[in-house]
Symmetry: C2
DNA sequence: AAATCAATTTAGCCTTGACTAACTTTAAAA
DNA sequence: TTTTAAAGTTAGTCAAGGCTAAATTGATTT
């Protein structure tokens, strides 16, 4: 147990920032698999030109990122062809989409303007723990039901 | 007005991600000025060994970051001496601390465990707009009063 | 005063995530 | 079928933010 017996003991700062850095490392991956899933749904396939347009980056940047996602097992791709999600990628995309919606709906339920909520949700979603996500879901749900 | 006359028009995705990238670029700066202010308050000065310990990074990393903060006008430093905040740095630190507290108190008011709230607040705070921050502050305040 | 130890700095390396410019491939039009 | 335009790729650059290892400085002991 170490020095953690005090009620509400503050976590070690270094732990907090270590977790923050881990979250950062996952962010781009999560945004990409989510966007790829959206594109496949909306347009039937995910072309890198569409990814570049939606993220507001160049085609070269998309290319680099897709290679990394492939290396990490989230997508498959062949030269000059569109990008596909692996099972793992699809799973992650589904999880991220749910989380995004919960955060967005929570902000709107709280009274935040929907446009602002879109901006904020995109940043916040990657840093919300399971526990906090449950609270968010419960709050928005309670307001509806 | 362009194509923004529809109620609740979704913002362009590229804008959302551009703002996200801007927020990222500010994160480390904000965390450092806040931590430097804390150290000066708690210990009278901000030594890089203390910064390294609290962030959970090496002294070399702290050194790099401090140089960047100095370049950007948030701190001053002299070799082998502790770090000082400029007026701009102090201002930013105060703003960040207030924001951090609002986010943390909001999460706790919502029912999130204080330890989890510490972790989540550190990630969330950098992505909360002024508008959302006001909603957070109002929510926690309303519960108290 | 010298030795030692802790703190700081420097140098060099790595990955991520961005860019531009130039090149190749694919698909569509002439 | 050839040409052209759009899409995708490759190569090279850069800054941020991490690291290790080695050198230096400052402060404390002996």
């Amino acid at each position: 147990m170490g020095d953690r017996s005090v009620p509400h003991a503050r976590p070690n700062k270094a732990e907090v920032f270590a977790r923050l850095r881990e979250a950062h490392a996952r962010e781009v991956t999560e945004d990409y698999v989510e966007m790829i899933a959206d594109l496949i749904e909306e347009e039937g396939e995910a072309r890198s030109v569409a990814l570049a347009e939606r993220f507001g980056v160049t085609a070269a940047t998309v290319n680099n990122t897709i290679k990394r996602l492939e290396r990490d097992g989230f997508v498959t791709s062949r030269p000059y062809r569109s990008v596909f999600l692996t099972d793992e990628g699809r799973e992650l995309a589904a999880k991220c989409r749910k989380r995004h919606e919960i955060v967005y709906n929570f902000l709107v339920a709280l009274g935040v303007d929907p446009t602002t909520a879109e901006f904020d949700a995109e940043g916040i979603e990657h840093h919300v723990s399971e526990e906090t996500l449950r609270m968010f879901a419960g709050f928005a749900g309670g307001k509806r039901g």
